[in-house]
């Protein structure tokens, strides 16, 4: 029997039962649609977060005071460690050959005001290298000057939101900005970046790190961002940072180092697992659809018993009958899968119009997997009825009317 004839025979058989076909296609397409939509959501979330982290810079090492292993918990947010990280620690790191740039970071919240307008915002103290490490770009003016990090220059760079709120329709450059009780001259405005892992650079004022230390009356640093010269150099840099700080902290290994790729990998792993979990829950509906396929095929085989007997008399081999019924099941499933993909695509388009900011992406492997799973379900659940047809005794089958 030719393949095209098998397809044709199965197709004409399916055509005679439109309602049954519609139901099975509906069930299958709901399963496939839910799998594709949930996979797309999970996958998009993964890509979103991974991209966010990669936007931080590719060879980034984050130095945190404190050590998870020694405290047994999360690294403390603010320096409650035996030994604080200081500016001197940060500067000492520059001795490593593998380090391209260092940005010590100090963070605090303070009221920012100018001419009667006031706003509570995040103040970040850092150095000129922050711009390189975090890939910041400027809309106007310039970034912090390259000077000794111990110098408390009274200059600041403001984010887009601050500019719009405090200097609406005015030139911000050159103006004075009051932070707490100190005055800073605005020398630059950051280009708008939107959210970046929860850090909103638009609603932020960047001042020299020494000024921030004076402002918040502290000697310690929140963390140090280090950019390694290369991907390979990053691991050597990690070892050297650990050695340098250990030497400076009386032999105490009391810092935590987070590398860019470990963060990305962790999130990647978590979200991939999440996507797979969600997709497998959704695929339960595929199994239900598969059982429906089996049910419909049983009915089909039972109803067409005398036809099966006839085909046997006409010389249909058991294998041909098996394939005829399997092809029917496969056709139903593939039709369901295709309409399910269409349904899923529509749902994604609808979601995209509701949430235009969230990048929705249906990976090609998910499409292929959905089709393959539908086909597999059809073959697994269709094989029992098809075998029944193939094994039928021709004499009894023919006597059924």
């Amino acid at each position: 029997m030719r393949f095209s004839d098998t397809l044709n025979q199965s197709y004409t058989a399916i055509k005679t039962q439109p309602v049954r076909v519609l139901l099975i296609v509906l069930a299958m397409s709901i399963g496939i649609a839910s799998v594709t939509v949930l996979t797309a959501l999970g996958e998009s979330a993964r890509l979103y977060i991974v991209n966010e982290f990669q936007a931080l810079g590719t060879h980034l090492v984050i130095v945190l005071p404190g050590r998870t292993e020694t405290t047994g918990g999360q690294p403390p947010i603010f320096g409650e460690t035996p030994t604080d990280l200081t500016l001197a620690d940060a500067n000492a790191l520059l001795r490593s050959r593998h380090i391209a740039a260092i940005a010590p970071i100090n963070i605090g919240a303070a009221p920012v005001s100018t001419r009667g307008l006031e706003r509570e915002t995040t103040i970040i103290g850092s150095t000129v290298d922050l711009r390189q490490v975090r890939h910041l770009s400027l809309a106007q003016g310039r970034f912090l000057p390259a000077s000794d990090s111990n110098e408390t220059l009274s200059v600041c760079v403001i984010g887009r939101t601050i500019k719009d709120e405090l200097f609406a329709n005015q030139q911000a450059l050159g103006q004075w900005l009051r932070i707490n009780d100190r005055r800073f001259r605005v020398i630059g405005v950051l280009a708008s970046e939107g959210q970046s892992i929860g850090v909103d650079f638009d609603d932020m004022v960047v001042i020299p790190v020494a000024a921030a230390q004076a402002l918040f009356n502290t000697q310690s640093l929140f963390r140090i961002l280090v950019e390694a010269k290369s991907k390979e150099g990053m691991y050597k840099a990690v070892d050297e940072i650990r050695a340098i700080i250990k030497a400076r902290h009386d032999g105490e290994d009391d810092i935590t180092l987070i590398t860019q790729d470990s963060v990305v990998k962790t999130f990647d792993d978590i979200l991939t697992a999440l996507t797979l979990t969600v997709a497998s829950i959704a695929s339960i509906s595929l199994a239900v659809a598969g059982i429906l396929v089996m049910n419909v095929m049983w009915v089909s085989v039972t109803q067409r018993t005398s036809e099966i007997g006839l085909l046997k008399a006409l010389g249909a081999t058991p294998r041909q009958l098996l394939w005829l019924f399997l092809t029917e099941a496969a056709m139903l499933s593939v039709a369901g899968a295709l309409s399910g993909l269409l349904l899923g695509k529509l749902a994604l388009v609808a979601l995209q119009t509701v949430y235009p900011d969230f990048p929705l992406y249906l990976p090609p492997w998910a499409v292929a997997a959905a089709l393959a799973v539908a086909l597999l379900t059809a073959l697994i659940f269709g094989v029992l009825p098809a075998r029944q047809a193939a094994k039928m005794d021709p004499v009894t089958a023919l006597s059924k009317r």
Partner: protein
Amino acid sequence: MIKLEHIHRYFQVGEQRIHALNDINLTIKQGEYVSIMGPSGSGKSTLLNVIALLDQPSSGRYLLNDQDVTQLNDEQLARVRRENIGFVFQFFHLIPRLSAAENIEMPMVLAGIAAKERKQRVAEVLKAVSLADRAGHRPDQLSGGQMQRVAIARAMIMRPGLLLADEPTGNLDSQSGREIIELLEDLNQQDMTLLMITHDESIGQRAERCIRIIDGQVS
């Protein structure tokens, strides 16, 4: 062509063991016209099913064209049926969703013959059973006599050596019944072996040879 040696066939019905065929010995030559008669339950249908390779005898030897077909598996049996045996049934057994031409085409579809050749051969046999103008009709649009002619066309499409007819006129009025018998006898004239089960004495007597079966034995 057909050689049956000591064929027995038992059926288990509940506790009871039914001896449907009891030591059947039968030889039918190529081109013969044989009718099988007997009361219902006599085993004539079982005999036909065994000859048709739809049923396997419990014991005995069956040679079809000098080939021992009792040793073949299901796949091989299907192939032998397809190439050597044409069927005509009492209840026509046409596939309701297919047109007359598609029904006739079915054995060739199963045999994997190319569509072009199929079309040509279907046109030929439709003409032979004078149904050329009914090719596109579905079975429910045909009369009983026409349906049986479609079934005969389907039986002869593979040009088998053996034509088996199980009460071919059982569901027809006498007029169309006679036409069907004439059509079958025509095919027999073209050297096709014709084996026919019938209740009808007048039809049975037309055959060159009449085999009577009573209680599973040739009498």
